[in-house]
Amino acid sequence: METSFTLAGLASQLLVGLSRAMILFIVSSGLSFILGVLRVPNVAHGSLYMIGAFAAHTIAVAFEGSAAGFWLAMLCAPLVVAVISLVAERLLFCHLYEREHLMLLLFTFALMLILGDLTKMTWGADYRSIVAPPLLQGSVPVLGTAFPRYNLFLLMVGPLVAIGLWLLSTKTKFGKIARAAAVDREMVGAIGINVSWVFAFAFVLGCLLAGLGGALVSPTISITLGMDHSIIIEAFLIVTIGGLGNIWGAMVGSLIFGITQSVGVLVLPQFAIVFPYLAVVVILTLKPTGLLKSVW
């Protein structure tokens, strides 16, 4: 079989891998943040991603697909998710932080089942799709191949989120407290900080990122029920190979995931999906606690 193993092909493949990695990063950094600060393996994260996409669609449709509607959707859909997660946290999660990880995992799985059904009740089963604003439609030539503008946009948003998270965790008091709480929540309480609200904010922030990921991905895919199943497992694996709770680890993991898969397409198209999983196996065999330092 004749393949297009050219330099240009490889470069464009890498670019695509990178832009895919950005979505994965945004989602998994939220998961990682929650894992790091709250120690909750949040399986419902994927559901929030899905809700983010559906909410973005509803908002965009309310503005009849105008550019303003699109930008508003990107802004507001994560906020919708944040509100949902705040309710879930204050109502349910905040009573369970002391439980075993396994219990928390099953609890969030239960939440995923519930959110999945609620999404279906709210939005129904139809496929949906958002149209990107004219500015981001079409493609630009990169190294002789057409590269979609929207992917370029993603390539810009990803690093922005990363920088934002970095600033938040190193420059703000909340970030510092969150990092301290990740290591020793009891002691943070003992210096007069209400850890419960720190946790609530950390949880909401993480979920906000899931919602943002869902909103950002929505113009590139069809929004359907069941989106949550595939993203959550990928996000978990990314977080694991990066080092639990380490946001830069999430970045590294996402890049590995995105790039191994898109390069895998060039090498062995039928089994491209295998490459990221193989990468996980290799990494965890060589470095059992992930590439970067884990807070666990």
């Binding site: 510092k176 301290a180 210096i191």
Partner: protein
Amino acid sequence: MLEVQGIHTYYGLSHILFNVSLKVQRGQVVCLLGRNGAGKTTTLKSIMGLVPPQRGRVRLNGEDVNGVEPYRLARKGIGYVPDDRRIFADLTVGENLEIAARPVPGSEGWTKERVYELFPPLKPMDSRRGGLLSGGEQKLLAIARALMTNPQLLLLDEPTEGLAPIMVKIFEERIRRLKELGLTVLLAEQNLKFTLGLSDYGYIIDNGRIRCEGPVAELVDNEEVRRICGI
């Protein structure tokens, strides 16, 4: 200022403290002496609300604080310095202090600068990660961090444990400074000599029970105290 009345504390199902009572007057340094595993740390944790006692009472300034969450106690003016330091290892020394800062409106209060004045060795380490500090430095930092919350009462758990004698001297001197500044201190220790010069009053704890109490000078002469403290 602080009054502990007959508390019983459990770790899970095991009973650790039996009917422990003690009192700390404003401006005093009171010490709680006992061997390893005698229940000193548990007593302090019970006061701080980290391991709430199941029976008995803790009063702060006459107010019942049973079952109050630790962060509220901290805001009510208790500073806690754990024996294992529990520095936030990922944060720099400066950040460790910053997140604890809780300025009291209308009064001078502790700031990073004042704390560095009191503990000069910390100043050059402002941007070093807490986890990289030596044990002694971490102990200083733990006290400094507790001071940043502007406490009226400081719970100090074994500040001298594992320190070189020269460091112990420094600590003694610093704690005296704090007392002069009007801070009330409850000091859990097994180093009798260290506490001797500092404390106004002492309690001896063994096997989770208070064995005897009195001014420190008297305690030193007590035969039982010597036995319990292993001197």
